[in-house]
């Protein structure tokens, strides 16, 4: 494939790049042809901090699209990406596998005839055709899907590849586009948007280490949070824990909540119901602490402890604090 690869650069409203951007650019580098890796930035253009990250990771050009409608609407972002596709001839688009990202991918499928694979954990070229790998059926199967026809759109999970800088960074070219959004994309009106307060902990969906509490915590997330803070980890929860109101709804991991793909997952008082497994089974290493030896999570745990989380977790935290100095 000689065409460039386009990466949709996810960023916060204040212009801070999300971790997915450097990861997706790293993934795109070996797939890109002569045109290199291109970034699509929708909204007010990237600032110096974002450009420095993109330069360090080898982005050749950033196409900054300023639409005359709210870029928080996925239909608007999809039209912006379509405009960049038209201007650059990119044959493959990588998008972070967030709910918003998958929605942008769906709009692209309908408007450009793109083939879409969601939730990929890798992409390769086979005879010039993009082939995406992914786990399905709650992490019990792995598949490889080819994308027929152009453009190919692949949404990629967090942590699919670690972000790696290039040896020789070069400032990317910034190409500005003004976009007049179609009446169709304007039909949805953003009445109100409330950004969630940023937490000191990493984002659950992109975190390298995740510590999760379930029913067994009986509402006391203290030991979970203490271990998470020591490890710089995100805190997650099961559906039961969020339904009980023990922790905010957005902490829910599972098929209908957040999907996590950390290097290390530690579940405490988590039974491992199939819904939950669907959102975490692709984790690199799974550790489980549960007082019930028959808990299904032990079937998929690399390291399982049958024991009381209120003694095991604090002991592990104290020992780690000692070992890590």
């Amino acid at each position: 494939m000689t065409s460039p690869v386009l990466v949709l650069l996810d960023h916060a409203a204040d212009g801070a790049l999300r971790p997915s951007a450097a990861e997706l650019v790293t993934l795109a580098r070996p797939l890109a042809g002569d045109g290199g890796v291109l970034g699509a930035w929708v909204g007010d253009g990237p600032g110096p901090d974002a450009l420095a990250v993109l330069a360090a990771h080898g982005v050749a050009a950033v196409h900054a699209v300023r639409p005359d409608a709210d870029p928080a609407l996925s239909a608007v972002t999809a039209e912006a990406v379509t405009a960049v596709l038209g201007a650059t001839g990119a044959g493959l688009v990588l998008i972070p596998s967030t709910f918003e990202g998958k929605e942008v991918a769906a709009h692209l499928a309908a408007s450009t005839g793109a083939g879409v694979v969601t939730d990929a954990d890798g992409v390769q070229l086979q005879d010039g055709v993009p082939v995406a790998s992914k786990t399905v059926l709650a992490g019990t199967w792995t598949t490889r899907c080819s994308v027929v026809g152009a453009p190919a759109v692949v949404t990629v999970k967090a942590n699919a590849v670690p972000a790696e800088p290039v040896a020789a960074p070069r400032e990317p070219v910034v190409v500005e586009h003004e976009l007049t959004v179609s009446p169709a994309a304007r039909r949805v009106e953003l009445v109100e948007r409330t950004e969630r307060a940023a937490s000191d902990r990493p984002d659950l969906s992109g975190a390298q280490v995740v510590v999760v509490g379930g029913r067994g915590t009986e509402g006391d997330f203290g030991p979970i949070e203490e271990l998470a803070d020591l490890l710089g980890a995100a805190v997650g929860a099961t559906r039961v824990a969020t339904d009980e109101g023990w922790i905010a709804k957005e902490a829910q991991i599972g098929q209908t909540g957040v999907t996590v793909t950390p290097r290390l997952y530690i579940g405490a008082g988590v039974s491992g119901a199939v819904h939950h497994r669907g959102g975490m089974q692709a984790a690199g290493t799974i550790v489980a602490v549960n007082s019930d030896p028959d808990a299904p999570i032990f079937e998929i745990a690399d390291f399982g402890v049958v024991g009381d989380l209120f003694t095991v977790l604090p002991q592990a935290t104290a020992e780690l604090r000692r070992l890590l100095g």
Binding site: E103, A106, A109, D119, V136, C145, T256, L264, A316
Partner: protein, 265 residues
């Protein structure tokens, strides 16, 4: 108010699910069910019609013969009518070609009688792509409001407003009717069909359509119309070197040692 609900028949997630040699979901295991997340869409539709004290709920599914069970379940919950699109050529459809069939069926139903709202679940628990609602809306040239945790219809103003909770923000979105809305599993608590509902559902007819009834050509759908193809599928091997310890007082220390030795922290 006339609401269509698109539902899917999927293998029960509690069962042993698998992919065949062609990379397609094995759907003849006999333990298929109405996609659990679509029950929330049916519930949302029934509630809206009940609150408006006027209207009807039509459920629609695309799939092989067994898929009729999904709409039957929705009829038991209280839906008024059902349509099942079944055709051998549909097998192997991806999200886009599935949406194409649904769109043709929605168009035909809208020609018979105008439709105010199309509701779907947030995702199907087999493929789990969550692409179909948005693609369907675009093909129908209707606004798409996805992942609603709350659906509010203002019939006088002719609008639908949804609340949705994303990773980084909470949003209120509004669009003119008709629109396509997908709901999450936090939107409501789906009702359980009672004896009366089950008896009443027996008398409700399920209309069956083929591709020809919808004016679709076989090469627009199924594997022929799909833009993606599964080229390899394998069951994930069991995790090796699994360790299971029962706490005898030092499990926390052993856990810490395991994490450090394996360079996980």
């Amino acid at each position: 108010m006339r609401i269509l609900v698109a539902v899917k028949h999927v293998p029960d997630i509690q069962s042993e699910r698998s992919l065949g040699p062609d990379g397609r979901m094995v759907r003849d295991g006999g333990d298929g069910t109405l996609n659990e997340l679509d029950e929330n869409a049916v519930e949302a539709a029934l509630t809206l019609v009940e609150e408006a004290e006027d209207g009807e709920v039509v459920v629609l599914t695309v799939g092989p013969d067994d898929a009729v069970d999904a709409v039957r379940r929705a009829l038991q919950m209280g839906a008024d009518e059902a349509v099942h699109v079944v055709d051998d050529a549909i097998a192997g459809s991806d999200a886009v070609s599935t949406a194409r069939v649904l769109a043709a069926a929605v168009r035909r139903l809208s020609e018979e009688q105008p439709v105010d709202l199309v509701l779907t679940g947030m995702a199907a628990l087999d493929g789990l792509t969550s692409l179909v609602p948005t693609v369907l809306a675009d093909l129908l040239e209707l606004p798409a409001l996805t992942l609603a945790t709350e659906v509010m219809v203002d019939e006088t103003a002719g609008t639908v407003t949804v609340r949705r909770e994303l990773d980084h923000a909470v949003e209120l979105l509004r669009a003119p009717l008709p629109a396509v809305v997908s709901v999450t599993d936090s939107a409501n608590e789906p009702r359980y069909p009672g004896f009366k509902g089950i008896m009443a559902a027996r008398k409700k007819a399920v209309t069956t359509w083929t591709l020809a009834d919808l004016g679709l050509e076989p090469d627009q759908v199924g594997a022929a119309g799909a833009r993606t193809a599964v080229v390899a599928a394998a069951e994930r091997p069991a995790r090796e070197d699994r360790v299971l310890v029962t706490d005898g007082g030092d499990a926390g220390v052993r856990l810490a040692a395991y994490l450090v030795e394996n360079k996980l922290v």
